[in-house]
Symmetry: C2
Subunit: 233 residues, 2 copies
DNA sequence: GCACACACGTGAATC
DNA sequence: TGATTCACGTGTGTG
């Protein structure tokens, strides 16, 4: 260790001398201590192997990312990750762009609540939507549910088609950490779902039909974009 | 070095003894060689600092990815990357899903060729589209161009709106590496562009209008989803 | 004590 | 050659 420090700029551990001298000391004394040394060596082995496995896991994921994004075959890790970031942003923007302007009720009752874009900075938005049969009573229920939450509604839209409607709310949040914003998302989702549940209950009471679960399919037209994303429920 | 190998399972370089002994030898001899040692130390320093910077770059990108994808705050690197992979796939699927079924010609002449999904396994698809004015002659040109390529067309669609049309081809490929599939994409793109160019040439010959570049804007309606993704050209 | 994850410095390869 | 990237083993902290 001291030897090592004779060269300035070298810290103790840079040559692994500590470990080395430990082993030496252990080896000097007979038998019993040797057990300790063997054990230590085994531990060291396990350690390095575990670390190798960890690296393989990470690099494996990086490799599949390379396969997922064309043109990144020969990039180094950092450049690859930068490209991944761009891709995620691009795709996210494309989705919102292609989704925007096509606010059309689908034939599936659903509540979607998701955090929308740019939590790069401290501000963020929550986009909440509820799609179901159109009932004027529902509107006030929704309004109440949303306004009961300590949130600021930035934008609200409604679209109807036939007997169906979809309501969209964009809600502003700021200065919330990861967990805070997630709990906001959850509370919004809960609020809208309770509105939907209440509606179902009243429907059921008026015995128009019985529900099998909470989701209901109404054949209006084949909806293509309302599937996937189970986590949005 | 020999000392090091006395412990089996330890390779030469595991303690950095090579480097160490190099420095020792250098120090034994006076003055001139000391310069060499100093230089070596400096180089080592630069090296470790560069490596530190590299790590910071990578970790920085990982951090922004964390910020970009909610719920990954406390994940370890591997889990984060796995989540990133899921996100990219999800978003990619959402885009194609939300795009599909809305095959409508836009007001911009364009050729899009992109690799579509799942090159996880060895098979993949290429989705190629060409959007331009509708001319019946074009159809056979396109057909010829596509069939001239050593590819299997899995699906083909055409949609028209007013004077505009868009053709979509889904082409199957398999057992191609990154570069191979990329060159296929390029050749498809080239083929479709040549069709478009030929069309332009004949149009120009018939002197309906002069082109400024190859792109042409026709006001039909404001197209929203044909923007971005310059790399698709 | 053990398992896991991370940062670090180093050796080697590539350009 | 120097600069840069990667894999590796190790030290260290946390649960």
């Amino acid at each position: 260790m001291d030897v090592c420090n004779n060269f300035d700029g070298f810290s103790d551990n840079c040559f692994g001398f500590q470990e080395f001298s430990k082993e030496v000391k252990a080896l000097v004394k007979p038998e019993r201590k040797l057990y300790g040394a063997e054990k230590a060596l085994l531990a060291l082995r396990n350690h390095s192997e575990a670390e190798r496995r960890r690296r393989e896991r990470i690099n494996g994921h990086l490799a599949t990312l390379r396969g997922l994004i064309p043109g990144t075959a020969k990039m180094d890790k950092a450049a690859l990750l930068a490209e991944v970031i761009n891709r995620v942003k691009e795709l996210r923007d494309r989705v919102t762009e292609v989704t925007r302007g096509t606010l059309v009720p689908t034939d599936i009752d659903e509540v979607k609540v998701e955090q929308e874009g740019k939590n790069d900075e401290n501000s963020f938005f929550i986009r909440a939507s509820l799609c179901c049969d159109f009932k004027t009573e529902l509107l006030s229920d929704i309004r109440e549910a949303i306004e009961a939450l300590p949130l600021k509604t930035v934008r609200a839209e409604i679209a109807t088609l036939g007997t169906r409607m979809v309501n969209v709310f964009v809600i502003a949040g700021c200065n919330a950490d990861e967990e805070g914003s997630q709990s906001l998302v959850d509370s919004v989702r809960k609020a809208l779902r309770s509105v939907l549940d209440k509606f179902y209950a009243s429907e059921e009471f008026s015995s128009r039909n019985t529900m099998s679960g909470k989701r209901r399919r109404v054949s209006l037209f084949s909806s293509s974009n309302s599937s996937s994303y189970g986590d949005l429920w």
